[in-house]
Amino acid sequence: MDKMIEVNDLSFSFGSGELKNTVLKNVDLTIHAGEIVIMTGPSGSGKTTFLTIIGALRQATEGHVCVIGQQLVNSSEYAKVKIRQQIGYIFQQHNLLKSLTAVQNVAMALEMHPGLSETQRLQRSADMLCSVGLDDRLYYKPDQLSGGQRQRVSIARALVGKPKIVLADEPTASLDKHSGQDAVGVLKKLAKEAGTTILLVTHDYRILDIADRIVELEDGIIK
C-alpha cells in the first residue's frame, strides 16, 4: 500500500448552530509510506484536531479520511480501535502511566498483541528503550526521569509495536533545544530503519530539518 494517509475534502467543526466553530475546512493531504511529514501552523489553527482525527481519536463526519486502507469518517468504534492499535501516538505531554516503570510503560503497547509471551514483551520493550538510549533507566518510574527521558520513553512506547504510522503532537514542546533534537533524531533514525510513516506537528523550527516534507496549516486550510 503506497498511500498511508489519504485525506480529501475533510471539514470539521466544534459545536453547532450559532456557536459552530469550523476548525478544518476542506483539507486535502496525502502521505505515502515511509514519509516523514511535519505540520506547522499558528496556535489554534487546528493541528491537534487534525491529528486526533487521523489517529481515530475523534470522529469526523464530513469528507474522506483513509488511514491504512480504513475509512475513518463515520466509522464504527470497532474500526477506530483497530486503527488505534496500528498507530503509535506521541503526546505533547508524555502521558506515561506514573505507576509503571519505563519498561512496563513501553510493554503496555504490546499487551494487545496476541502471541507474545511476557518475557518476549519485556525483552522487546527493553530493546526499544536501549535504542532510544535509556539502557540504564529501564526500571525507573516516570517521576524519576527527566523530561527528555520521559519523552524518549514515550517514543519507545509509540514505536515498540512496529506501527505503520506514528503521529506526534509537539513532542519537543516541553524539552530544551538539545534534548528536543535528541529525541526527534532518535525518532527519525528508528522510523527510517523500519520504514514507518510519521506525521509530526510542531512549532519548533529547530527540528524542521528531519522532515521529507513540510505542510502548513493556517485557519483550517493547508497551504
Binding site: 481519536l57 480501535v81 483497530k82 502521558n95 503496555m108 499487551e111 494487545m112
Partner: protein
C-alpha cells in the same frame, strides 16, 4: 487475547496503580475498613438484640404454649385463668400441662444492698419447663421453702453471685421478701431484664403475695410421643377460649423475636442504625473509588488512544474494587471480631460472628465498591479520548 490475560492484565494494572501511592492506598483501606466495622457493629447489635430477646423462649421445654392474646412479649404478660390450660388435658394426645408464672421484681444486691429489676420465673421444679441442666439438677432443693436459683449471665450490678455463694452469703431479698440463693444457672439477659431468677411455683406465690395460683402467665403443654403437634394445636385451638393464643415452639420464638423487631421502638432504632451504617459505608467507598478513578482518568485515556477497548477499563476498575474490598475487609473483619468480644463483655449479650454475617458484609462491601466504580466509569465512556489531553 487469551482468557487468562483477559483478566490478568487489567488486574495487574489495577494492582500496580493501587500500590503505587502507599499513602492513598492506606487511606482507602482505612475507609473501607471503617465502612466494614460500621456495618458489622450495627448488624451485630441488631442480631444480638433479637437473639437475646429470644433466649428464654429458646430454652422453653414444651411442644405447645398458651398465652393471653394481649401478651405481646414475655416480659410483660397478661394473665389468664389456669382452668383454660387444664382443659387441654382432656385431649387424648396431651401428656402434661403446667403453668409458668413470670414477673419483674426488685432484687437486692447482697453486697451493696442496692435494688435492681430482674425477671423471676416460677414453675413446678419437677416439670422441667426450662431445659437448663443446672436447674434440673437442683430440682429437689428447689422444692424447699424460700429458695431460688440465680442466672449467672445477669449483669454484674446484681453482685458477684458466685463469689458470694462460695463465701456462704446467700440470703437476699426479692420485692422485700427474704429468700436464699441455692445455686446458679445460665439463661442470658435480654433488653427487658438485666438478670433472671428461677424459683418454684410455691415460692413464686410467696414472693408475690398478690398473685394467685389460678392466674397464670404461660401454659406449657407436652404432647404424647409420636403425636402430631400441628394437629393437636389445631384441635385445641377450636376448643380453647378465643382470648388465648396457642403456639408451637417455633411460633413462640418467632412471636417473641418479632415483638422486638417490629413492635418495640428499639427494633426500629437498630433497623435505622443498620441502614445508616450501610449508607455511610456506601458513601465512603464510593468517594474513595471515584477519586481513584478520576485521578487515573487521563492514564485510561492514554491507553484508549493506544487502542485499548472500553471493557479493559471496566475490568481494571472492577479489579481495583475487588482489591480494595479484600484489603479493607480482612482487617475490618478482625477488628469487628475484637469489638464483638468487647461488646459481649460489656453488655453480657451474646454477639456471635456468624458465617452468614461475614458473607453479607463482604458481599455488601464488594457490591458497593463495584457500583461506585461503575458510576465513575461512565465519565470515561462519555468523553472522547481526544478531549482528555
Amino acid at each position: 487475547m487469551n482468557p487468562y490475560n483477559y483478566f490478568y492484565f487489567p488486574g495487574r494494572l489495577a494492582w500496580r496503580q493501587l500500590v503505587f501511592d502507599k499513602t492513598k492506598l492506606f487511606a482507602a483501606i482505612c475507609g473501607v475498613l471503617f465502612a466494614c466495622v460500621l456495618v458489622f457493629m450495627q448488624l451485630g447489635f441488631k442480631d444480638s438484640l433479637y437473639n437475646s430477646a429470644a433466649s428464654a423462649p429458646l430454652k422453653m421445654n414444651g411442644d405447645l404454649f398458651l398465652m393471653h392474646k394481649q401478651t405481646e412479649a414475655m416480659w410483660r404478660p397478661t394473665r389468664f385463668n389456669r382452668s383454660e390450660l387444664m382443659r387441654t388435658l382432656g385431649h387424648p394426645d396431651v401428656a402434661s400441662a403446667y403453668p409458668m408464672y413470670l414477673s419483674l421484681a426488685q432484687f437486692k444486691n447482697i453486697e451493696t444492698q442496692t435494688k435492681r429489676t430482674l425477671m423471676v420465673y416460677g414453675y413446678d421444679p419437677d416439670a422441667d419447663l426450662l431445659a437448663v441442666e443446672a436447674i434440673i439438677e437442683k430440682r429437689t432443693e428447689l422444692r424447699l421453702k424460700d429458695t431460688a436459683l440465680f442466672d449467672e449471665s445477669s449483669r454484674p450490678e446484681f453482685g458477684p453471685m458466685r463469689a458470694l455463694l462460695d463465701a456462704g452469703k446467700n440470703s437476699t431479698e426479692i420485692n422485700d421478701y427474704k429468700l436464699k440463693i441455692i445455686g446458679l444457672f445460665r439463661l442470658g439477659v435480654s433488653f427487658a431484664a438485666d438478670g433472671n431468677v428461677m424459683t418454684s411455683d410455691q415460692n413464686f406465690l410467696r414472693i408475690f403475695s398478690d398473685r394467685r395460683a389460678d392466674q397464670i402467665d404461660i401454659g406449657i403443654i407436652k404432647v404424647r410421643p409420636g403425636s402430631d403437634v400441628k394437629k393437636v394445636q389445631a384441635d385445641l385451638k377450636s376448643r380453647l377460649n378465643e382470648f388465648v393464643n396457642i403456639f408451637t415452639y417455633d411460633e413462640l420464638v418467632q412471636y417473641e423475636k418479632s415483638y422486638w423487631e417490629n413492635t418495640a421502638p428499639i427494633g426500629f432504632i437498630f433497623g435505622f442504625g443498620t441502614i445508616m451504617g450501610l449508607v455511610v459505608g456506601m458513601v465512603i467507598v464510593y468517594q474513595i473509588l471515584f477519586t481513584d478513578i478520576t485521578n487515573h482518568l487521563n492514564e485510561f485515556a492514554t491507553l484508549k488512544a493506544m487502542g485499548y477497548k472500553h471493557g479493559y477499563f471496566i475490568r481494571v476498575v472492577f479489579a481495583s474494587a475487588f482489591f480494595l474490598a479484600i484489603l479493607g475487609f480482612l482487617p475490618g473483619f478482625l477488628m469487628s471480631l475484637g469489638l464483638y468480644r468487647l461488646a459481649e463483655s460489656q453488655t453480657f449479650m451474646p454477639m456471635p460472628m456468624t458465617p452468614h454475617k461475614v458473607f453479607t458484609v463482604f458481599l455488601f462491601i464488594l457490591s458497593m465498591c463495584a457500583s461506585a466504580g461503575l458510576l465513575a466509569m461512565r465519565k470515561l465512556k462519555a468523553a472522547s479520548p481526544a478531549d482528555m489531553f
